[in-house]
C-alpha cells in the first residue's frame, strides 16, 4: 500500500506545475465554447497545452500522442482543476476511438488536427428520443455506394456550434436489431444539410447544441472501424470517460470547498456552528473521494462498471457540497453574482448526464453486484 506518486509521475507533476505557474495566468479566461470570442480564447489555451506536450498524453506517439499510461491524463486533469485552470481539450475519448479503430488513412487525416487542437470536434451520440438508452438511436447513415447519407437529429452535442468535425454514432444496418445496427462516422460539419441549434442551459451555459442532419453525405472513407461496430466503439470510448476518477473533479470540487473555507476563515461569510459542521462533513466527503479516486486510478482496469460507483459517489458528494455552500452564501445564493447558482444547477445535472443516477445505480446493482434484471 503506497499512496505516494512514483518518481516519474512526481516529475511529470512538478513539470506541469512549473509550466502552469508560467503560463496559466494568460489563459484563465478560456471559458469554453460559449461564444466566438470564448472559443478563440479556449483554442489558444488548448494549443498552448498541445505545444507544451500536454495533449494526447495516453495516445500513441505515432499520431502525435505521448504514449504514456492513462494515469497521466488523470494527473493532468487533477492538476489543472486544482490550479483553477480551464479544463484541457475534451478530446481524449474521441482520439482513442479514432486511434484504436480507424484505418491508417483516416487516422493520418484527422488525428493531427485533433491532437494539435487546430480543429474543434464534437461527439454526436445522444438523441431526443434516447436519453440514457443509446441502443435505441434512430439517426440513420444509409450506405449509398462510396458514401453514407445521414438523416436524423442529435442533442446534447457539446461544442457543436463551433466544431469542424463530428464523431457520429448512427444506424447503418436497417435489418440488424438495436445496437448491432450502429456504426461510427467522422462527419464534416461544414457539409450541406448539417444544421445546428444552440441549447441554452438553465445555468445560462451555451456549450451544447442540437444538430440536424438532412441528407448529409459522408465519404465511406470516414467510417471508423467496420460497419456495425459503432456500439462497440462507443462502449470503448465510454470506458475512457471514467469521469470522477480522471476528469479532475476532485480538484474542481476541492476548489469550491477551499473558496468556502476562505470565506469563513476571513469572515467574509458568517458561518454558525451548524454550517461549520456541514462544511466539515463536506470536507470529510471530499477527502474520502480523493482517496477513492486514487484507489480507482491505481487499481482498476479502465472500463469496469466501477466507473458507475465513482460517478454515484461523486454526484452524491458534489450535490451535497453545493447545498452547503449555497446555504453558506445565504441570500447571496440567489442575489447578485449568478455564477454560484449556475454551479449549483450544474451539480443537479451531474445525476442526469452520462446516464441518470437511476441508470447508474441499476448498472451497479446488475453488473457489479450481480442482481437479477427486473
Amino acid at each position: 500500500m503506497d499512496y505516494s506518486d512514483d518518481p516519474e509521475v512526481a516529475e511529470f507533476r512538478a513539470g506541469l506545475r512549473a509550466w502552469l505557474r508560467d503560463h496559466l495566468d494568460e489563459h484563465r479566461d478560456a471559458t469554453g465554447y460559449e461564444s466566438a470570442e470564448s472559443v478563440e480564447r479556449t483554442l489558444r489555451w488548448h494549443r498552448a497545452l498541445a505545444a507544451a506536450g500536454y495533449v494526447g498524453l495516453s495516445l500513441p506517439a505515432a499520431y502525435g500522442g505521448h504514449g504514456l499510461p492513462d494515469l497521466y491524463e488523470a494527473v493532468l486533469n487533477d492538476e489543472l482543476a486544482t490550479a483553477g485552470a480551464p479544463p484541457p481539450p475534451p478530446i481524449g475519448h474521441i482520439a482513442h476511438a479514432v486511434a484504436d479503430f480507424a484505418g491508417e488513412d483516416l487516422k493520418t487525416r484527422v488525428l493531427p488536427g485533433l491532437l494539435g487542437c487546430t480543429e474543434v470536434w464534437c461527439q454526436g451520440f445522444s438523441e431526443p428520443g434516447a436519453g440514457s438508452d443509446l441502443a435505441s438511436l434512430t439517426t440513420t447513415a444509409a450506405p449509398d455506394g462510396d458514401r453514407f447519407v445521414v438523416d436524423g437529429q442529435k442533442i446534447w452535442t457539446s461544442g457543436a456550434m463551433w466544431s469542424r468535425w463530428c464523431l457520429l454514432l448512427a444506424r447503418t444496418e436497417r435489418d440488424q436489431p438495436r445496437h448491432r445496427g450502429l456504426s461510427m462516422l467522422v462527419v464534416d460539419m461544414e457539409s450541406p444539410g448539417v444544421d445546428r441549434r444552440e441549447i441554452v442551459l438553465a445555468s445560462g451555459s451555451r456549450e451544447f447544441a442540437e444538430v440536424f442532419f438532412d441528407g448529409v453525405e459522408v465519404p465511406a472513407a470516414n467510417l471508423v472501424g467496420e460497419r456495425g461496430q459503432g456500439w462497440r466503439i462507443a462502449m470503448h470510448m465510454l470506458s475512457y470517460e471514467r469521469g470522477p476518477a480522471d476528469m479532475g473533479w476532485v480538484g474542481r470540487l476541492g476548489r469550491v470547498l477551499a473558496a468556502a473555507r476562505d470565506d469563513v476563515r476571513s469572515g467574509r461569510l458568517p458561518a454558525d456552528e451548524p454550517l461549520r459542521r456541514r462544511l466539515a462533513a463536506a470536507s470529510v466527503d471530499l477527502r474520502v473521494l480523493q482517496w477513492h479516486v486514487a484507489r480507482s486510478l491505481a487499481g482498476r482496469d479502465p472500463g469496469g462498471s466501477a466507473g458507475s460507483v465513482d460517478k454515484l459517489l461523486t454526484t452524491r458528494i458534489e450535490q451535497n457540497l453545493h447545498h452547503v455552500v449555497g446555504d453558506l452564501a445565504g441570500a447571496s445564493f440567489v442575489l447578485g453574482d449568478p455564477a454560484p447558482y449556475g454551479d449549483y444547477l450544474w451539480s443537479r445535472a451531474q445525476s442526469i448526464y452520462g446516464g441518470t443516477q437511476q441508470i447508474q445505480r441499476q448498472i451497479v446493482a446488475q453488473r457489479v453486484l450481480g442482481l437479477p434484471r427486473g
Binding site: A202, G330, F333, I352, Q358
Partner: protein, 340 residues
C-alpha cells in the same frame, strides 16, 4: 373541525387560477438569461389584477378593502405560485398589510388597493424580514414606485433590479427618499407578529403552488416520455422519487392550510410560530421536490427552454424571502431547545 376549502373558496381558487394563467401567458422567459421578459406587468395586466380585487381584498374596509381572511389570500398566493406569475401581487399585498399595521393613511392604502400606486415591501439585506433601517432591499418590486421603511417613516425610490436567481420576481435596492409618512405608529407586538405570520403564510402558499406545478409537469412527463421501451414513469426508481415528492407536497399543503388558518384564528405569537414551522417545512420541501422534478425530466429539465428551472429558481427565492428553514429553525432552537 372543518379542514377543507368551502365551495366559495374553491370557486375563488378557480377564478384566481384563470387570471394567474393569463398573467403567466404574458410573461416569457425567452431563450436564455439575456432574453428574459421584464417581470413588471404591463398596464393591461395590472389593471386586471386590480379589477380582480387581489390588491384590495385583504385590507380593512376603511382602507378600501374587503377584509378577506388569510385563507383566501393563501388560495390566491398558491395560484400565483402555481403559474409562476411574474406580476408583483404578493409584494404589493404584503407592503399594504405592513403599512396598514403601522396605521398608514387610508388614502395611500386605497391607492394601493386600486392598483394606482405600486409599492413593494422593504426587507433586510438578507431578505429574512421587514427592514427596520436603510440599506435594505425592496422585494417583489417589479414596476413598484417606491418602498416604505415604516420605522424611518420614509418612502424610498427604487433602483434597477439586482441580479436575482428567480426570473419571475425583481429585487431592487432602495434609492433616494421620496416622501415622508409622518402618521405612522409602530404596531403592538400582537399585530406585528400577525403581520409577519401573514407574510410567511403567503410565501408558504407560493412555495406550495410552485412545487405542485413542478410535480404536475413531472408527472405528465413521466407518463409520456418513453425510455428503454416504457414510459419513464413506469420505472420503480422514478415512481419512488415522484411518490416522495407527492408526500412532501401534501405535507406542505397541510402546513400551508394550518398556518393560513392560524393567522386570523390564533393569538399573534402562536400564529407566527405556526407560520415559522410552515415556512421552514415548505422551504426545505419545495427545493427537494423541484430537484426531484428536474431529475425526472432528465436532460431536458436542465435547459433554459424547459420550465423546470423556473420553478426551482422561484422555490429557492421564495425560500429565502422572510427566512429559510435554517433561519426559522434557529429561532425555534433558541426558544424551545435552549438549555437552562
Amino acid at each position: 373541525m372543518e379542514i377543507e376549502l368551502t365551495a366559495e373558496q374553491r370557486a375563488f381558487r378557480d377564478s384566481c387560477g384563470k387570471l394567474a394563467a393569463h398573467l403567466a401567458s404574458r410573461w416569457h422567459r425567452g431563450r436564455g438569461p439575456h432574453d428574459v421578459g421584464p417581470s413588471a406587468p404591463d398596464e393591461a395586466s395590472w389593471s386586471r389584477v386590480a379589477e380582480a380585487g387581489w390588491l384590495a381584498m385583504r385590507l380593512r374596509e376603511e382602507n378600501g378593502g374587503a377584509e378577506a381572511g388569510a385563507v383566501d389570500m393563501m388560495i390566491l398566493a398558491e395560484q400565483l405560485g402555481h403559474h409562476a406569475v411574474a406580476s408583483p401581487v404578493l409584494g404589493t399585498v404584503i407592503a399594504a398589510e405592513q403599512l396598514q399595521s403601522w396605521g398608514a393613511a387610508s388614502g395611500l392604502l386605497e391607492e394601493i388597493a386600486e392598483g394606482t400606486r405600486r409599492l413593494a415591501p422593504a426587507l433586510t439585506p438578507d431578505l429574512t424580514g421587514f427592514a427596520d433601517a436603510t440599506g435594505s432591499l425592496a422585494w417583489d418590486a417589479a414596476g413598484a414606485e417606491f418602498a416604505v421603511v415604516p420605522a424611518t417613516g420614509t418612502a424610498y425610490a427604487l433602483g434597477e433590479p439586482v441580479p436575482f436567481a428567480d426570473q419571475t420576481r425583481a429585487v431592487r435596492p432602495l434609492g433616494e427618499p421620496v416622501r415622508t409618512l409622518t402618521e405612522l405608529t409602530a404596531p403592538d407586538g400582537e399585530t406585528a407578529a400577525r403581520t409577519s405570520a401573514f407574510a410567511l403564510s403567503l410565501l408558504v402558499a407560493d412555495l406550495l403552488g410552485t412545487m405542485q406545478a413542478a410535480l404536475d409537469a413531472a408527472l405528465d412527463h413521466a407518463r409520456t416520455r418513453v425510455q428503454f421501451g416504457s414510459p419513464v414513469g413506469a420505472f420503480q426508481a422514478v415512481q419512488q422519487l415522484l411518490a416522495d415528492s407527492h408526500v412532501l407536497t401534501e405535507a406542505s399543503r397541510s402546513a400551508c392550510w394550518y398556518a393560513a388558518w392560524a393567522v386570523d384564528a390564533l393569538p399573534g405569537e402562536e400564529a407566527l410560530r405556526a407560520a415559522r414551522v410552515a415556512k421552514a417545512y415548505a422551504s426545505r420541501s419545495a427545493v427537494e421536490v423541484c430537484e426531484n422534478v428536474i431529475q425526472v425530466f432528465g436532460g431536458i429539465g436542465m435547459t433554459w427552454e424547459a420550465p423546470a428551472h423556473i420553478w426551482l429558481r422561484r422555490a429557492h427565492a421564495a425560500r429565502a424571502a422572510f427566512g429559510d428553514e435554517h433561519h426559522h429553525e434557529a429561532v425555534i432552537a433558541a426558544t424551545e431547545f435552549s438549555g437552562s
